[in-house]
């Protein structure tokens, strides 16, 4: 039984969805304002635009000059930040709850107008280029980018959110302005507030602050369906003297697909804890790997499921790849013991409860699921997790983990 709490929800006439949840365990409030403005929404050849826009949102507004958003947050004893993903840009504050009006005022102000100037744009572009270089220096991040580009030939999820260096260098002030005007509008946003607040008062304040922000014409999202992959793809990266690593990627459905709960439980049985199948097979005892993981991203559109391992020096990557496929085949062919399934379900239930320990976890969850179609989807998803059966998991592996649809990237030391 899912314990996702029920928020108060209204949709303002301009399209902004507002969700408020009272949680009075501590005098804390968290706000999340989430825009459908991720890398998925970037025009071709403009990678990094959504991420750069996120940086610019901290450059100040008429009411909050440069530096004031951070400075005010600090003076009030809180924190703020933002994150850009493939699907959205999310801006958040966590503050002592007596200051709950402040983040709403800041968010309304920068939604109504973010006066981007050329000088700030150039400074922030330099910062974004440094961030891109940081990624380029991280072998694991580059391995992930490699496997994304290998598996996805058309869909925008193939691009790194931080952007490619050559694209960031080419972005113009006009690109940024146009992206802001077409995506940072109330009808493309969700505001979620969770904490020690009065729900009615928050709704009233949101109406007062945001009602005057005009809705916008949303840029249509070009529908880009990834062609069906019919044969395995491989790429090898060579870098330094680090131990070998491998990432296998499989195409999996979106977060709202009927198979999503079974895929999630599969990821748990494969990769969570020290009794999971991959750890047992590859890390425990004298296994070939020092670390292994199975990860599915919650995404709006069909994306990838990753199995990643760091192997001991000298390990045979080809054999590792074959053995991973054998583990998957075993899941599909042999009945899953009931205690193993029960363990995975319980681990997921615990995970979801832990995520709700913080007000930010609550607000973030509400905003995220609302953008996918409604906060209730999280409740449906958790109910679905509890209902996943062994045959469901076997069918999901049969359907989405065909060995011919895998993409594999290897990271090897330069001297091998």
């Amino acid at each position: 039984m899912s314990r996702v709490p029920t928020p108060t929800k209204i949709i303002l006439p301009n399209g902004l969805a507002v969700l408020v949840l009272r949680r009075d365990h501590a005098p804390i409030v968290a706000t999340t304002l989430l825009y459908g403005a991720g890398s998925l929404h970037e025009p071709d050849g403009h990678t990094g635009l959504a991420h750069l826009m996120e940086h610019m949102m901290f450059r100040g507004t008429a009411a909050y000059p440069q530096g004031e958003i951070d400075s005010l947050t600090g003076r009030l004893g809180g924190v703020n930040n933002a994150v850009t993903t493939t699907d959205y840009a999310a801006y958040y504050f966590v503050l002592p709850s007596e200051h709950w009006r402040v983040p709403l005022a800041i968010e309304a102000d920068r939604m109504a107008g973010c006066p981007i100037d050329v000088e700030s744009f150039e400074t922030e572009r330099r910062v974004a280029l440094e961030e891109r270089k940081m990624f380029q220096d991280d072998p694991e991040a580059m391995l992930d980018e490699t496997v994304d580009r290998l598996a996805l030939t058309r869909h925008p999820y193939r691009h790194p959110v931080v952007g490619l260096r050559e694209d960031i260098e080419r972005l113009t002030f006009g690109d940024l302005r146009a992206f802001y005007e077409s995506h940072y509008v109330p009808n493309n946003a969700v505001l979620a507030v969770a904490g020690d607040v009065d729900e009615d008062a928050v709704v009233a304040e949101a109406e007062r602050l945001f009602a005057g922000v005009e809705s916008g014409d949303l840029a249509p999202l070009s529908s880009q369906v990834e062609p069906l992959q019919t044969s395995p793809r491989h790429a090898t990266m060579r870098r330094g003297t680090a131990p070998p690593q491998a990432v296998l990627a499989y195409h999996t459905p979106s977060a709202t697909h009927a198979d999503a709960p079974a895929v999630e439980i599969l990821a748990t049985l494969l990769g969570v804890g020290r009794t999971c199948r991959l750890y047992n097979r590859f890390v425990a005892g004298d296994g070939v790997a020092s670390e292994i993981s199975a990860t599915r991203l919650f995404q709006k559109e069909p994306g990838l499921f990753y199995i990643a391992g760091t192997l001991h020096p000298g390990a045979d990557l080809e054999r590792f790849e074959r053995d991973v496929m054998q583990v998957l085949e075993d899941v599909a062919r042999k009945p899953i013991p009931s205690d193993e399934l029960a363990k995975g379900t319980e681990q997921m239930r615990t995970d979801h409860e832990l995520a709700r320990e913080t007000c930010l976890g609550l607000a973030g969850g509400l905003a995220f699921w609302e953008t996918l179609g409604g906060w209730e989807l999280e409740r449906q998803f958790e109910t679905g997790l509890a209902q996943v059966s062994g045959p469901d998991i076997a069918r999901v592996v049969e359907t989405h983990f065909d060995p011919d649809t895998r993409s594999v990237a290897w990271l090897m030391p330069e001297d091998e």
Binding site: R3, R23, H25, A26, I28, G67, I69, D70, S71, G74, R75, L76, G77, G78, V79, N80, N81, V94, P96, E122, T123, R126, V127, A128, E130, E131, K133, M134, Q136, D137, G240, T241, A242, P243, V272, G273, R274, T275, V283, A284, G285, D286, S290, E291, T310, L311, H312, P313, A342, K343, E346, Q347, M348, R349, T350, E353, L354, E357, T358, C359
Partner: protein, 422 residues
């Protein structure tokens, strides 16, 4: 049904272990930790990495590792972390399983006499992790900076050890370390969550009351206080960015200027967002770096930690970034911060203190710190007044204690030709 968030219960056992628990029924979860004074601070000379290797046996292989498996059918998880001072076993899960989890933690710490094969496998994993970290310039920069500032003192050696030191460690070394350091003397069991505290305290006391202090524990010596070294070091790594750490030895947690150091950190390089002096100058105004920060309080412990500033930037910007950092260090030492800066930093720290204890995990960790550093069970209530008592002159005093803009240690890791080191 458990209590609402309540007061801390504390029981000190005759064997030296202390049990702390606090209830919070906001969500049906718990966090439980068992901490022993078994960090790399106690690694014997030439055996760095021993504390870390020994602790990894708590969750891997036969013995304790098999006990660790028993958390998973409960939906709970357990992990182990070793730092400079301590080794901590930590579990999280649903409150209904807390009592069982505390019993399992106690069972795990009672593990001794590991088989040679388990040690061999654990050593192999640790070596691979070290090899992986060797490819990460930010990690190498931090490691080399500690080495440079603390010389051969255990504070300057990597917790995970290195290939040579790990190669020297025998099965006997591991067993002796477990006997001596996995001791109830100074151990802290801390629980926060959807639990009945009296019941969980009773359960924890029962679980560890038979744990005795071995003879080996009484013969241990602790290392002398570290003494600072100053120098500069360049490590060549072909990368897009150069990583730079600079600074020197800091203060201990018990130092009367500890809270002043925390205030200074916020003003200089560790504020909300990018509002610190360093971030404003190096990132917001000059656009030289994505990461720019400094810290003093974060590494303060039983022994003095570091004052250090860190950034990663393109090699051609290193000179400018370092000049900016040193200039801000100089200003920090030349005059007290403004009233506005002081008030903002104090407000930030006071508010942040409450935010940082929102999860059971964080509250359990805070209980351990209160106990180990003698802060008192009412520390959370007193924290705001402690930071409010910091004056502008205190901030200047601590800046002058830990920052020397004319004589600092510096480590850079980056491609050949990184400006400063030509």
């Amino acid at each position: 049904m458990a209590d609402a968030r309540g007061r801390v219960e504390r029981v000190a056992l005759p064997n030296g272990a202390v049990v702390l628990a606090v209830a919070d029924s906001t969500v049906p979860t718990f966090a439980a930790t068992l901490t022993v004074e078994a960090g790399s601070r106690y690694d014997p000379v030439g055996r760095s990495g021993l504390a870390s290797l020994a602790s990894s046996l708590l969750v891997e292989g036969e013995g304790a590792g098999e006990v660790a498996f028993r958390f998973e059918p409960l939906g709970a998880s357990v992990d182990v972390a070793t730092g400079y001072e301590t080794t901590t076993l930590g579990a999280v899960g649903l409150g209904e399983h807390c009592e069982e989890a505390v019993g399992l933690l106690a069972e795990m710490i009672g593990f001794r006499s590991p088989a040679a094969s388990i040690i061999r496998d654990a050593r192999r994993r640790q070596l691979t992790e070290i090899a992986e970290e060797d490819g990460e310039p930010s990690f190498v920069c931090r490691r080399e900076f500690f080495r440079l500032v603390f010389g051969g003192h255990p504070r300057g050696l990597p917790v995970e050890g290195d290939a040579v030191s790990l190669g020297r460690i025998s099965r006997g070394d591991v067993s002796e370390f477990m006997d001596a350091r996995w001791s109830p003397a100074g151990a802290v069991i801390a629980v926060s969550g959807d639990v009945e505290t009296s019941r969980i305290v009773d359960a924890a006391c029962r679980a560890v009351e038979g744990w005795t202090v071995s003879d080996a524990a009484t013969s241990l010596v602790t290392p002398p206080p570290p003494r600072p070294f100053t120098g500069r070091r360049f490590v060549e790594m072909e990368r897009e960015q150069a990583h730079v750490s600079l600074g020197g030895i800091g203060i201990a947690r018990s130092d009367p200027l500890y809270h002043a150091a925390a205030v200074m950190d916020v003003i200089l390089g560790d504020s909300a967002g990018f509002g610190s002096r360093l971030a404003t100058r190096v990132r917001e105004e000059e656009g030289l770096a994505y990461i720019i920060e400094s810290d003093t309080a974060g590494t303060a412990g039983i022994d003095p930690g570091l004052f250090w500033a860190y950034t990663a930037t393109s090699p051609e910007h290193v000179d400018r970034a370092v000049a900016g950092i040193v200039d801000e260090m100089r200003k920090m030492c030349s005059e007290p911060p403004s009233n506005h800066e002081l008030e903002s930093a104090v407000a930030y720290l006071s508010g942040r203190h409450a935010l940082d204890r929102e999860t059971n995990d964080a509250r359990a960790a805070a209980l351990v710190r209160m106990e180990r550093y003698g802060l008192g069970l009412d520390h959370a209530d007193r924290y705001a007044s402690l930071v409010r008592a910091v004056t502008r002159e205190d901030v200047l005093a601590v800046a002058r204690r830990v920052i020397d803009p004319e004589n600092y240690s510096i480590v850079a890791v980056g491609p050949a030709g990184t400006g400063l080191f030509l």
